[in-house]
Symmetry: none
Subunit: 402 residues, 2 copies
């Protein structure tokens, strides 16, 4: 049985509240310029340490040992799904990233404007990196293209990039890229990878033909290529699976989209962590499960800025009191993956996990750091099991077997 | 998806080098005669301890909790294969152990000379443990037996034991033992366990009939039985899976054979650990992944000789400097399984693991011992995941999902 269905089969309802505070890219790496400490070890965070002293700690492996996850699989795992079975395609992810919440019947693709020569061969795959504004103008030329029985939406992303959203019935995302991935070739026709996708491929080709016609003679953006055709994976929501009324307090579109994909409501929550916690207080009574997404630790890790990541951890620690005061039945504080400043990228290293609940086994953790959590009572577990742990600590899973 | 294929799907190439130093039977057991210390705790190994202080430690479970592995599964797991899915049959293992490197199309079996009475009933399953020399003479009588469309090779092992290798096309190892496993029965005919194996079984029976004819009237070795029919599992090599140019520095034939089974090149490397490290230096530039096999800890564990195992650990520690000086991007030091002197055999106990790399999270391990490693930052993982970790630390795995 699939993991989430197994947990679902045991789920019962009550009024105990669960909060998942996700500190994006939380895990760090020993840094030679900072006495071989990690960002979390170097930062001063007395409030998190105090929570560790009354909670249980452990480590999460996002996907599998050694595997560095993108945001998609890292979040789906934390929401209780097997991140290898449920993959979010690049078209869908690009759409989520700009705030589009696709329907399960939509097909999404990433688009690039490009430059072709007189014979139709691509000579610049990025159309000279035209501005978003120019892209927007070009998209306007294409928006009234009509397709039989379905509808096209076009959304500018940044520079030469856009998202194509195809809405209709019986669509399929099993379509190969039209982007040849190199210059001196022509954009390819959309090709169905499965019989089910034949009609969708034909719609895409109709769109592309008309689009090329309209873009002709207007270099540098005189053609387009598409890739990453995909649909939302068929995911049941947290309400349906576990009876959880769930809500997301996320500032960035990507994370709102990922939360929406598992059925969370997206709440307005301002721009800072304190804003997010104010929104949490406001909506406290209305939901059972809150996902709070704190982005800035990941960004500074990606920038390779150790001290900025330290700073963002300290800011969070300074502002966390209102959350503690709400006294959720279960509070989990962790990350989706590691983003060590030393690597300037996501990494495969496990993520520290802190769980505070009246039902947690206090393990005497003296601090919230990677090294302490690696020795914590929760052990080292895969992220996909966290949802089961949260439900259990909220006494929301009944006994299995007699 | 199978584990190694999942890792393979993420593999990228670079020039970072990986060294796996395998200390055979490394794990030990608290011994009542030595203050309840393990061999590794009792031994003095300042160099390994120093590596632990700048690395990450953890524990490997060879197959599953409680399962004592043979050398075959223990090594395959360390090479990244699920040791339960990929089993190496006894015939193949016996062949590997005497330095035969089978082709994937060969069928291998273990053979015993035995003694039968006038009616053909077995009265001594080991033919009075005839010497290897006598065995060799008997095998000479059988070597010119010809089979239609295939070829027989016979290799003496030790005493009354030999290996039968059948070379040809469309052979199958799905054949039941001809050895009844007891005396006062006759050797059985070779019986196919699947339809595909019918023709192979018939070849084996042709061989056995002619062999019995030639051995007749020459007790004690006047008959033979065969068991453990098997073929190499169909394993992709490390080059094909991960783009790793890989080489083994192993002294004993069995380990050369296991390394060969996953596509490693077998390098000449003398008789001592220092010889092995000299060979490592010589070939350093030519490969990406080196497997160094250190045997003597296992042998002394099997002998129940605690102090000899301690000694071999100290010898290795004393000689390790040239390896450290080569400064591989990733150095993993571990065992294939535990061989506690207190048990005089392989055991199921997890194995200490030490990983040194610029990308490892230093966990402040003060020593390289079972107890320290059990609390290390890498946690407790199954051996089959080590390959993914090694690739990750060598930055040879790309991000999974966007």
């Amino acid at each position: 049985m699939e993991l989430h269905k197994f947990y679902s089969s045991l789920a019962i309802r009550n009024d105990r509240k669960i909060v998942l505070l996700l500190i994006d890219g939380l895990g760090g790496l020993s840094h030679k310029d900072y006495s071989y400490k990690t960002e979390l070890e170097y930062a001063n965070h007395p409030n998190l340490d105090r929570l560790a002293s009354i909670g249980s700690t452990g480590m999460l492996t996002p996907v599998l040992h050694g595997v560095t996850p993108g945001s998609g699989p890292a979040h789906l795992a934390l929401f209780g799904l097997d991140p290898i079975s449920f993959q979010i395609g690049r078209g869908v992810l690009e759409a989520l990233g700009i705030g589009i919440v696709p329907e399960p019947t939509d097909v999404l693709a990433r688009g690039n404007f490009c430059t072709v020569d007189d014979q139709g061969y691509i000579i610049d795959r990025r159309a000279g990196r035209i501005s978003t504004l120019v892209s927007e103008e070009r998209l306007t030329l294409l928006r009234d293209i009509r397709l039989p029985g379905s509808e096209i939406e076009l959304h500018a992303v940044r520079d030469h990039r856009f998202v194509l959203r195809l809405k209709g019935m019986d669509l399929s995302g099993d379509i190969a890229n039209t982007d040849p991935g190199t210059i001196f070739e022509k954009p390819k026709a959309a090709k169905a990878l499965t019989p089910r996708a034949e009609s969708t491929a034909s719609l895409v080709n109709t769109f592309v033909e008309q689009a090329l016609d309209r873009l002709k003679g207007q270099p540098p953006a005189n053609a387009l290529v598409l890739r990453g055709f995909s649909m939302l994976p068929n995911i049941s929501g947290l309400q349906e699976l576990y009876g959880l009324r769930s809500a997301a307090l996320a500032i960035y579109p990507m994370y709102k989209g990922l939360a929406r994909a598992v059925g969370m409501e997206i709440l307005e929550c301002g721009q800072t962590f304190s804003d997010q916690l104010r929104a949490l207080e406001t909506h406290w009574e209305r939901y059972d499960y809150f996902f709070i997404h704190y982005k800035y630790t990941d960004s500074s890790g990606e920038d390779g800025d150790f001290l900025s990541k330290v700073n963002h951890i300290e800011t969070l620690d300074n502002s966390i009191e209102p959350l503690v005061r709400l006294d959720p039945a279960v509070l989990a504080i962790t990350g989706d993956h590691s983003t060590p400043a030393a690597l300037k990228s996501h990494s495969w290293h496990p993520i520290p996990l802190l769980l505070v609940s009246p039902t947690c086994r206090r393990d005497g953790s003296a601090a919230f750091t990677e090294t302490v959590c690696a020795r914590g009572a929760l052990g080292h577990i895969e992220s996909k099991y966290l949802m089961g742990l949260l439900l259990a600590h909220a006494l929301r899973l009944e006994k299995f077997g007699a």
